[in-house]
């Protein structure tokens, strides 16, 4: 019987937002790799992802996992034109910070800091939250992401004017919209199906 919920009473949990590498443990049982059929392998897209409890859990619905993964990859990795990768990762980090996903924020804070070579600014966003003082271009991207994360959505023409004034082309603004919107999807899966843990020491 796989319909059981796993809890972790003694888990070593992170205490705040962090750019450090942390783990994630599932509350539901991932699909065991020996039960994967061709349909499930197609769902995880990259075979190595079957080793991740998150993707192996999502593999229980392979069609939506595959479509989600390919959407994710294009929004973040396709840098043919449009917004630099660093700023797509900034939108992902700001959205995760606003929604409260410590795990998602950790992954994308590392990417944003790495690609922008601005780890101090990213750390400020993690520590102080979405009102942290950043330069105008980054503040405009963070504010747009936060407005998109609100329910009901608060994103307005003012956010677009601010992004344009900060130097973004309309094609780049679409990347902000897609990147932030996508993390509303990712945050909700990560937050509701499991929780972050600190890696084992040593």
């Amino acid at each position: 019987m796989t319909d059981t919920v796993t809890t972790y009473p003694h888990l070593d949990r992170p205490e705040r937002f962090t750019a450090a590498q942390i783990g994630w443990v599932p509350w539901l049982t991932p699909l065991p790799v020996e039960e994967f059929t061709d349909r499930h392998w197609a769902g995880v897209v990259d075979r190595s992802r079957a080793a991740s409890p998150y993707f192996a859990l999502l593999a229980r619905d392979p069609e939506i996992l595959a479509a989600r993964t390919t959407t994710d990859k294009d929004i973040f990795y396709n840098t043919t034109g449009g917004l630099p990768r660093a700023e797509r990762e900034l939108a992902a980090t700001a959205t995760s910070r606003e929604n409260g996903c410590v795990f998602c924020a950790s992954v994308h804070a590392r990417f944003a800091g790495h690609y922008a070579k601005r780890t101090d600014d990213v750390q400020l966003l993690l520590d102080e939250g979405v009102t942290a003082p950043l330069d105008e271009r980054w503040s405009a991207i963070v504010a747009a992401s936060v407005a998109l994360a609100a329910t009901p959505v608060r994103f307005s023409a003012e956010h677009i004017h601010r992004l344009r004034a900060a130097g973004l082309e309309d094609s780049e603004i679409i990347d902000v919209i897609n990147g932030s919107s996508f993390f509303n999807w990712a945050n909700r899966l990560m937050l509701s199906l499991g929780e972050p843990e600190n890696p084992a020491e040593g």
């Binding site: 319909d3 595959a66 959407t71 307005s156 094609s171 509701s192």
Partner: protein, 208 residues
């Protein structure tokens, strides 16, 4: 021009016309456009309906869109419940009772306790529960948390779904469904907002 079959749902919702400004901008990211559509199809034209039926999916979608006060998406999904007027009515009533502003919620992380924000913890009422059934009512309770206060998620929420008749595969699809909708609603909202700031540049049409 390219005719997409089935039509791209976001283009339908946006009222995009071939070669207008939004079409041109969306066409810069053809893979995003294609796979966003595939995501919709995976959820609403599913290969496997055994863990969560189509009417349940549309009912949850109406609820999620209505919590966002997004009339366009609410009515789009409501059309999928044309054969279930009583169900649609019960979902609309539940959404009216569940209005809130998110994101809020409490952190488990010790260092983030100062950021906790109170807000509505929603449960479908007794009358709604009778109309929706235990299983769908539990799904709406869960959807409300995921939409407005996902950081309040705890394992107990999944226990409640299992107690209401959901299995593990069904909870995975349910979670993807709710989370996808929060993405789709924002993409449509964001692109419509962008379109409002653009000059109208529909292509000149021959004579129609």
């Amino acid at each position: 021009m390219t005719i997409r079959i089935p039509p791209d749902v976001i283009d339908v919702l946006l009222g995009t016309r071939p070669d207008d400004t939004l079409d041109t901008l969306r066409s810069l990211r053809p893979a995003t456009r294609e796979h966003t559509q595939r995501s919709f199809e995976a959820l609403f034209q599913p290969v496997d309906e055994s863990h969560i039926g189509l009417a349940e999916r549309y009912a949850i979608a109406v609820f999620v869109a209505a919590l966002h006060k997004d009339v366009r998406l609410t009515e789009f999904y409501a059309a999928g419940l044309g054969d279930h007027p009583a169900l649609l009515s019960a979902v609309r009533s539940a959404a009216d009772a569940g209005q809130a502003e998110g994101p809020y919620g409490s952190y488990r992380e010790a260092g983030l306790q100062a950021e906790n924000q109170e807000g509505l913890t929603f449960q479908v009422g007794t009358a709604g529960r009778d109309a929706l059934g235990t299983r769908l009512a539990a799904a709406l309770d869960h959807a409300h948390r995921l939409v407005f206060h996902p950081r309040d998620s705890r394992p107990e929420a999944l226990e409640a779904l299992i107690a209401a008749g959901w299995d593990t595969d069904g909870i995975v699809t349910l979670s993807q469904l709710i989370a996808f909708l929060t993405f789709q609603i924002r993409v449509v909202s964001g692109l419509l907002t962008l379109a409002e700031t653009l000059p109208l540049t529909h292509p000149t049409e021959a004579s129609s």
